[in-house]
Amino acid sequence: MKLINCPVNGTRPVGEFVFGGEFREMPDPGQCGDSEWASYVHHRSGAPGMKKEWWYHAPSGTWFIAERNTMTEEITRTYLFGQEEDK
């Protein structure tokens, strides 16, 4: 993973990107219990495998989602948040 395909700017070297953490769906803060919320903010699975992650292309200020296999370091696809279906 030395190259990342930014959905807006195309393939760029990894040095231009900032890792933004695992992507998680936020539970409804008004409805969820304390432990569910604590799990959302604190618990991460470190097991290698496919992860959905936030990445940021710093020179252009583009946030996007990357699906990355942390075992093989392969990024299978990238897309803008909310535009998963378009790909």
Binding site: M1, K2, L3, D34, A58, G61, W63
Partner: protein, 965 residues
């Protein structure tokens, strides 16, 4: 005695140019193109170095960059590799691992006591008694390591280049050249890299006495030359494989990072020595080393030699030796009679006696072990790997060429994640499953026949073409036929040992047997216990034999033993090649030049350089900072705050966005008003703070701290995307400059050149006004971070210097003085303002710093709110309090991060501490037990020396507390 052969076509030396150098004080003459080893060997020198552990004399082994016993220093560089580095005019060379020179090395006695230094002895011998360990450590450290580093080296900046291609071919042998030609003909941009000074691989030395192959090579190279889309780099090695086909190519003068769309590894194989007693003497060398000496450097490996082999290659070596006019006393083949084939007949026709089913039982050392006198030859039983010395004969010779097999140069394939399997037909590990876009061809792929290697290169190229989406034909490569190029177990036992497996680390067969007996019988454990493959050649000539020995000990197939992975770099790479240029860009504010002229000392804050203080002759930094701070307290000061993060938010949802993003309330904020903004992360931890100014119904201006500006902007962008709000967000950090005029006289100074009413009533604390100064449009915010009365002037960066100078001029006669970040830190502390990131850490929640007032829990949502609801239910563990030390405190000054201790328990720590002239006391912030947070409470700080210092909790701000006291 010169060992030079007559001039021959294709040799790598230029006999028209002489090179003069010295080795161990003696003068030599060689030719341009000679390596240090070939130059010395041609001059008849055989003792070129001493081994690492036993200090045995060593000569040449491979001429393939793993002759690590021949490492030299010229006084400046160290560990120069004699076998591959070209000798230069005027060089004064010394071998690195001797005490008194290669011939009279005082450490040679170690060889005679090697019996009491078994493998792993130092793990066992020196750890008790413990008090003696420092003594032994000193001895071991002196013995360990090879060359001596010259710390007085000149700074040499090596090139760092980037290159891109469709296909990178590693290795310019027959397979690599064939692959490159096929790929280039199909239109790919191809780079070929080869670590040798010239291309050709085995074609440049493995000739079996025929001149045909030399012609074939010339023809191939001519074709390569004609292809404009092939770049051939020789004298440079592919140093490692990194994800997405990023491969650093290391040359003599720098590094080129090649980003390839596909890679063919055609890196060949390392010849492996058979193991017999004294196989390390100068004059005993690999068959391919003898061939390289003959064809590349026009030098005889010896005058009368014995060839010991366990494959067909030994016969080819014998033919090359005979062709060069060297007497071959015998060819000794470990294998039974039938396997030599046509090559055997050819060798016998040349008059060479062939001894099949035999081994070299030991090499007979010449005086001082400085060479070989003879070879003891006796029958050898392959099935039991045992020799029968009772039938030994001794053949007189001055050299032995060894050819027993090969190990693939597969380091880069391993690094790329290739699964390897052991192929019985060639007795070698070969790729079983390659990663996408990586291909292997030639010997590294287990293909040894020359015609098939060319086919294999073509096959790999066509696979690469298909991988890149082009159509390409299938090429079939015939499976290996005939005798295996590698012998499954070329190991000859000997009761007196000194049958070396690893020449770097002086490891003998018995060391492996002993390691296994002690339980280190897994290849990874054995590697670490014996140190096999951990020397400078990284196992290139030793790992395969070690695996074979371990397999035999454990009675397992070789495949079950597996291999260790060679990490980058493939060959040792000088640090200078890796070191960067110190490319560390700084952002400068538009006022930087003014600060420089005013004698500022700068400090890095995030990416920015800011003025820390302004030097004054005769005054210490501490005094200057106190003076600058006092000016702000008594008259006025001016500071450049241009590095602060500045963002503009426009749009119908702008206030909605700020409500969600920050903890405070912004929906009700009035135009012309500013509000403190506390930023939390989702876990409720304080990550930044800033000021939000409302310029219009749908227009906000936000300032955030310098070092967090990029991260805050990023988070704003992310949440905007998630919330899908109608907000335009612009980062105006560089577009706006910020000048803060602070102190009791600031109103008069700003009032002189700003056409607006600055009275408390018209322009109260916390207000923002859009106006002009000296005719330039500005935004002014009435702030209170460093002083009760202060004006923050925001101006387009291009006008910053003009406005700054106008303010400085207006300040004349008012005691206006520029101050830097050091004074600013003290001033904000005096004001009782904590700094996020300095007085808080990655776990601090707002309740711990008393920031409840900045949180609006009643809002529907803000980042961190849900977590705060959980945190609020729990008891507070610590609390940040302002404190003072006793009046006139003169003892050891507590430092930031000194612990707050109560009843032997750690309760907290100091986060800020400084002496303030205005207050007349040492003041600071500390985390304490919440039970001790009440003003007037005393607590104890433990200093660096362990002394306990009493501190008293006070009310902030300190300057008012002082006035009230």
């Amino acid at each position: 005695m010169s060992m030079r052969l007559p001039r021959s076509a294709g040799e790598w030396i230029n006999r028209d140019k002489a090179v003069r150098f010295s080795f161990e004080g003696k003068e030599y003459t060689a030719y341009e193109g000679d390596t240090i080893s070939s130059a010395l060997w041609a001059a008849g020198e055989k003792v070129l170095g001493r081994s690492f552990k036993y200090h045995r004399p060593r000569g040449v082994l491979s001429f393939a960059n793993h002759d690590v016993n021949v490492m030299l220093t010229d006084g400046l560089d160290t560990n120069i590799r004699g076998d591959v580095v070209a000798v230069r005019n005027g060089q004064k060379l010394m071998a690195v691992n001797t005490d008194g020179g290669v011939r009279d090395d005082k450490n040679k006695y170690i060889d005679s006591i090697s019996g009491v230094l078994p493998v792993g002895f130092y793990y066992k011998a020196f750890h008790t008694p413990r008090r003696l360990f420092p003594f032994w450590e000193n001895v071991i450290r002196k013995a360990a390591g090879l060359g001596v580093v010259n710390f007085n080296f000149p700074r040499v900046t090596k090139k760092k280049l980037n290159s891109h291609c469709d296909l990178l071919v590693i290795g310019a042998g027959p397979a690599g050249l064939s692959a490159a030609l096929i790929a280039a003909e199909a239109g790919l941009d191809v780079i070929i890299v080869d670590e040798n000074q010239r291309a050709g691989g085995s074609l440049s030395y493995d000739r079996a006495g025929s001149s045909e192959l030399g012609a074939k090579l010339a023809e191939l190279l001519d074709m390569v030359k004609k292809m404009p889309n092939i770049q051939l780099h020789t004298g440079a090695y592919a140093a490692g494989y990194y994800t997405d086909h990023l491969i650093p190519i290391v040359g003599a003068d720098g590094i080129t990072k090649v980003r390839a769309k596909s890679v063919i590894v055609a890196s060949g194989a390392f010849e492996q020595p058979p193991v017999f007693r004294n196989n390390d003497l100068p004059g005993v060398m690999l068959g391919s080393a003898a061939q390289r000496l003959i064809y590349r450097y026009g030098t005889k490996p010896f005058n009368k030699g014995v060839v010991v082999t366990a494959n067909d290659h030994g016969y080819r070596v014998a033919l090359d030796l005979v062709e060069a006019g060297i007497k071959v006393a015998a060819l000794v083949d470990l294998r039974a009679a039938s396997e030599g084939g046509t090559l055997m007949n050819e060798v016998m026709r040349k008059g060479v006696a062939v001894h099949t089913g035999s081994c070299v039982y030991e090499a007979v050392p010449a005086k001082g072990k400085f060479g070989v006198e003879g070879a003891v030859i006796c029958p050898y039983d392959e099935a039991t790997a045992s020799a029968d010395p009772s039938k030994a004969i001794t053949m007189e010779c001055d050299g032995i060429a060894m050819s027993a097999g090969w190990a693939p140069a597969a380091a880069l394939l391993y690094q790329a994640g290739t699964a390897m399997r052991y192929d019985e037909a060639v007795q070698q590990f070969v790729p079983a499953k390659l990663p996408a876009g990586v291909f292997a061809a030639g010997k590294v792929n287990g293909v040894f026949d020359l015609v098939q290697r060319v086919h294999d290169g073509a096959r790999a190229a066509n696979e690469a073409l298909r991988y890149l989406g082009k159509s390409a034909p299938q090429v079939d490569v015939a499976p290996h036929e005939g005798a295996s190029p590698s012998h499954p177990y070329p190991i000859v036992p000997h009761p007196d040992a000194k049958n070396f497996v690893d020449f770097d680390e002086d490891l003998q067969v018995k060391d492996f047997i002993n390691a296994a007996k002690e339980g280190f019988d897994n290849i990874e454990l054995m590697k670490r216990f014996t140190t096999v493959g951990m020397g400078p050649s990284q196992g290139k000539h030793s790992n395969m034999n070690a695996i074979r020995i371990l397999a035999r000990i454990r009675k397992l197939p070789v495949e079950k033993i597996g291999t260790t992975t060679a990490r980058p770099f493939f060959h040792p790479t000088p640090i200078g090649h890796l070191a960067g240029r110190g490319f560390h860009p700084h952002r400068l504010t538009p006022l930087h030049g003014w600060h420089e002229a005013a004698g500022a000392e700068f400090v890095e804050v995030g990416p920015w350089l800011r003025a820390a203080y302004y030097k004054k002759p005769g005054l210490s930094k501490l005094d200057i900072v106190q003076e600058e701070a006092l000016a702000v307290r008594q008259t006025a000061g001016i500071i450049d705050g241009g590095s602060l993060g500045k963002f503009e938010l426009q749009g119908p949802d702008a206030s909605q966005f700020l409500e969600r993003f920050y903890a405070g309330s912004f929906g009700s904020q009035k135009i012309g008003e500013t509000r403190y903004a506390l930023m939390l992360d989702e876990t409720g931890v304080v990550v930044d703070d800033g000021v939000v100014s409302r310029l219009g119904e749908e227009s906000f201006y936000v300032t955030v701290s310098t070092s967090n500006a990029a991260a805050v902007y990023r988070e704003m962008q992310r949440w905007l995307q998630i919330w899908k709000l109608g907000v335009g967000l612009t980062n105006v950090t560089g577009a706006y400059s910020l000048i803060n005029v602070a102190g009791p006289r600031s109103r008069q100074i700003v009032g002189k050149i700003a056409p607006l009413d600055l009275s408390d009533k018209a322009f109260p604390y916390g207000a923002i006004r859009e106006t002009e100064i000296a005719g330039v449009p500005v935004r002014i915010i009435r702030v209170g971070f460093v002083a009760d009365l202060a004006y923050e002037i925001h101006v387009a960066a291009g006008y910053a210097r003009y406005v700054w100078e106008a303010l400085v001029a207006a300040g004349e006669g008012h005691g206006l003085r520029p101050f830097g970040t050091d004074a600013q830190r003290l001033l904000r502390l005096e004001m009782g303002n904590h700094l996020v990131g300095h007085d808080t850490d990655g776990l601090t929640n707002p309740y711990e710093i008393g920031a409840e007032w900045a949180i609006k829990m009643g809002k529907p949502f803000f980042v961190g709110q849900r977590s705060l609801k959980i945190i609020a239910k729990r008891p507070l563990k610590k609390r940040l309090v302002p404190f003072m030390l006793a009046e006139g405190y003169r003892e050891e000054m507590p430092q930031e991060c000194n612990l707050v201790i109560e009843g032997g328990e750690i309760k907290g720590r100091t986060t800020s501490i400084a002496f303030s002239r205005s207050v007349g006391r040492v003041i600071g912030f500390a985390y304490v037990d919440p039970a001790q947070a009440q003003p007037g409470t005393q607590f104890q700080i433990r200093t660096d020396s362990g002394a306990m210092v009493k501190a008293t909790v006070v009310k902030a701000p300190f300057i008012r507390a002082q006035q009230g006291a």
